[in-house]
């Protein structure tokens, strides 16, 4: 059974008890993203304070992987500087697109390293990135404010 490799306990925990879920006010920008093959969707809001990600709030429907990775996202970026958050995102994207060949850095990705197994299933990579794409898009939409 290779399933455990993919569905690490950390992932299932985040899935069952997502962090930071719910849409909150105030926010600077919102992004809606959808996975065109399965209809999974996320609406994600970003609130900045100067150069810092003050809050990320979200709502959506999706599989365990997309839900858990968005939950992990909030842990990794809230309270961080924007540049920091973006470089964490780059590390996560690199891990996910690495086909299981990229060694994750726990110092950078924390719970995110649990997704290393998902990277071996290319069809699920989009699930894992759904929230992150929304985060990136929302950040871009904050425009001059960032």
């Amino acid at each position: 059974m290779q399933l455990q490799q993919m569905y690490q306990e950390i992932i299932l925990d985040h899935y069952k008890n997502p962090h930071g879920r719910g849409l909150r006010e105030p926010y600077d920008a919102e992004s809606f993203q959808v996975n065109p093959t399965c209809g999974d969707e996320v609406t994600l809001r970003v609130r900045l304070a100067g150069d810092t990600v003050e809050d990320v709030s979200y709502e959506g429907q999706g599989c365990s992987i997309s839900q858990a990775s968005t939950s992990v996202l909030t842990d990794l970026v809230v309270g961080r500087g924007v540049a920091d958050a973006l470089s964490t995102m780059d590390a996560f994207v690199e891990l996910m697109q690495g086909r299981g060949q990229v060694e994750p850095d726990e110092d950078v990705l924390e719970d995110g390293i649990a997704f290393a197994g998902v990277a071996k299933y290319p069809a699920r990579v989009k699930c894992a990135l759904l929230g992150w794409m929304a985060f990136k898009d929302a950040l871009a939409r904050t425009g001059g404010q960032a």
Partner: protein
């Protein structure tokens, strides 16, 4: 249902399909339940295509040398056998790259009618005209009509779907009216399995003078279909869903319609005369086959049709019916599983329903369920199966779909049911 004929010898059939002998995910037997997306190919089809390419390959309808003759013969013989398979004549069969292209062909040709000659007048659409589709269509039979409406100013309307996954025909006469120019609908839903009442739809369309387009992608591979007897004006299906190659599909059009319809793709082999400033076009089917065609693929599809004929489409349909009934019965016994589309009646049977069984599992997202099934070697499809509006109608974002073909057996159904239970256990909902 009583078997009218000898049942299929599935074990013998399976031996014809090399891929079914392979294993997946660390040695699991492959249980392929995704034929609704694409079917597998028997050796006979692979051999026919290879034999053509190693012996007779040439550009068809373009050369006078021996290979070109042989290639043209092989291509046209395939057309004739495929036409016969669905009860029509060869000049009514146009080869396309897939069913999607076939539907687009009709939609674009209708769009082109506005600037084509008077003989195409009956295809011209404009504001005030209506196109009617259904809420259970595959995107391939929906988006092209949305786009045609957008380009021409025509209005798109649609039949709804009932809670049990049937077409809601209660407003048939209000929906299909004198304003309706075209009714496009699926023969068999790729999600629900529902077989639609073609006769009623065709009768109403004919009464108001509307054209009919049948999406036969999920019927022609799985049951005997006589397109001429159904009385539709156009129909499409794809080779890859009926044991044939990818890259080839069929558009059927009634002779007199193809004869007066303007071309779609233009270029070589579809012309009558070309000058720098203008061209005239060949009669159908050539008019609709621009460029070097899918030659070896037509030969492969011809071999697929021969294979299906040898098995017998009645027997294919009966076999799949038995599998469908078994799957529906088995899923009904698993708490927390809901099947989309027609379920079994009190007698434990179901009518007008083919072998696509889509379902949702409480507490397990379809993607996650699919992953567990995959881990067990069971290949199903998860998502909205290119029928997003239907899923929205049924209030689910996505579903798990198992779809059957002649090479599946009751052991495959058992593996499916086991996998569903395993998914429930894995995600702690059972």
């Amino acid at each position: 249902m009583t078997a009218l004929t000898a049942p299929l010898d599935v074990a013998a059939l399976r031996a014809d399909f090399p891929i079914l002998g392979r294993t997946v995910r660390d040695g699991k037997r492959l249980v392929y339940l995704d034929s609704g997306a694409t079917s597998q190919r028997p050796r006979q089809v692979l051999d026919a295509e290879r034999e053509f390419l190693e012996r007779h390959n040439a550009a068809v309808h373009r050369g006078a040398h021996q290979l070109a003759e042989e290639a043209t013969d092989a291509y046209e013989s395939a057309r004739a056998r495929i036409a016969a398979f669905v009860g029509v004549t060869p000049d009514e069969v146009v080869f396309t790259k897939n069913a999607t292209e076939g539907i687009n062909l009709v939609a674009y040709a209708m769009g082109n009618a506005a600037t084509a000659g008077p003989e195409s007048a009956r295809f011209v659409l404009g504001p005030g005209d209506e196109i009617v589709v259904t809420e259970m269509e595959h995107h391939a039979n929906l988006v092209p009509w949305q786009q045609l409406a957008q380009r021409t100013g025509a209005t798109l309307r649609w039949f709804g779907v009932t809670d049990d996954g049937r077409l809601d025909l209660s407003d048939l006469d209000a929906l299909v009216t004198e304003r309706t120019r075209l009714v496009a609908f699926t023969h068999q839903s790729n999600v629900l399995g529902t077989v639609n009442p073609v006769a009623a739809l065709v009768a109403r369309a004919q009464a108001v003078g509307a054209l009919t387009v049948l999406d036969a992608c999920q019927s022609v591979p799985h049951a005997p279909v006589d397109l001429a007897a159904l009385g539709v004006d156009f129909a499409v299906f794809s080779g890859h869903k009926m044991l044939g190659p990818s890259g080839i599909g069929v558009l059927y059009g009634r002779r007199e319609l193809l004869g007066s319809m303007p071309p779609f793709l233009t270029g070589g082999s579809m012309i009558e005369m070309v000058e720098m400033a203008r061209s005239t076009f060949a009669p159908p089917p050539q008019r609709f086959e621009a460029g070097v065609p899918m030659t070896s693929q037509a030969v492969g599809l011809g071999a697929a049709v021969d294979y299906l004929n040898a098995v017998g489409m009645d027997r294919v349909a009966e076999h799949e019916h038995a599998l469908t009934v078994a799957a529906l019965a088995g899923l009904a016994e698993i708490p927390g599983v809901r099947v989309l589309g027609p379920g079994l009646d009190a007698a434990g049977d179901v009518a007008d329903r083919g072998g696509a069984v889509s379902f949702v599992i409480d507490g397990v997202h379809p993607h996650d369920a699919g992953q567990v099934l995959d881990d067990e070697g069971v290949a199903v499809r998860v998502g909205h199966h290119c029928a997003w509006p239907l899923h929205r109608r049924l209030a689910v974002p996505a579903s798990v779909r198992a779809s059957f073909y002649l090479y599946n057996d009751l052991g495959d159904i058992a593996a499916l049911l086991d996998g569903v239970r395993a998914a429930q256990r894995f995600f702690g909902v059972a």
